[in-house]
Symmetry: C2
Subunit: 110 residues, 2 copies
Amino acid sequence: MFHALSDTTRRDILRRCVRDDLSVSRLAEAYPMSFAAVQKHVAVLERAGLVVKQRRGREQIVRTDPDAVGRARQALDELETAWRGRVERMSHLLAQDAEPDAHDPTEGQI
Amino acid sequence: MFHALSDTTRRDILRRCVRDDLSVSRLAEAYPMSFAAVQKHVAVLERAGLVVKQRRGREQIVRTDPDAVGRARQALDELETAWRGRVERMSHLLAQDAEPDAHDPTEGQI
DNA sequence: CTAATCTACAACCAAATGGTTGTAGATGGG
DNA sequence: CCCATCTACAACCATTTGGTTGTAGATTAG
C-alpha cells in the first residue's frame, strides 16, 4: 500500500479521484503519458485497495476507497503516537532520577 | 518520503528506532542482509527526513523524526478528510433534489 | 602504536518499476 | 451491422532499486 503511494502520478490520480469520479481514459488525458501507463497506475492503486473500479457503460469509473486511505493514515498515526509516548516515558524516567530520596549509586555521575 | 516508506525493511527500521535509539550496526544485526544494505536503507530514510543520525563515539545513532512522520500522516489525513467532505456534499445535493417544492423536469425519471 | 570496531562509499548484479507500442475484447451510437 | 470508443493485456526497453562484496576512513580499546 505504501508502495502504491510512493509514485507521484499515483498520488495525483488519487487526489483527482477524491474530487471527481473519473474514467480511466479521462484520467489518462491529464498526464503526459500513454493510456496504458495510466491504466497500469490505476491497476497498482486497485491492487493496493486504495481505489475501486466500477463499470458504467463502456467506461470504467475509478473511485477512491476512503477506508483504505484511513488505514494508511492510521498506521502513520500510531507510529507518531508511539514516538510521542516514548518521549513521555523518557521524561518520566528523568523526573524519577531527579527525585530527592533517590539512592541511585550512579547519582554522582554528572 | 512515501517512497522511503514503501519498503518493508525501512518501515521496520523506523518502528525499531521509535522504540529505542539504535546504532546502524545494531540495526543491521536484526536483518538477514549485509551491514551495507541496512546502511543504505538508513540513508534513504535520512534523505527523506524521517530519521536523523547522531554521532556517539564511533557509533552512529539513528533517531526517528516524529515531525516528519506527522507530516506524512497529515497528508493522508487531508486526503481522507477531502473524501469524507465530498461524500458530505453529495449527500447534501441529494437532499436538495429531494425537496418537496422541487420542479425538476427530470423528476419523473424513476 | 596496533588492533578491533563502526561507518562510509564505490562498483557491480539481478529484479522490479515505469514507461512504450501493439493487439484484442466489450460496449454504445448511427 | 459496422464503426468508434474504452478497456485489458502482452511484449519489450531503460532506469531504478535492493542487494552483494570490497576498500578505506574514524574512533575506541589494549
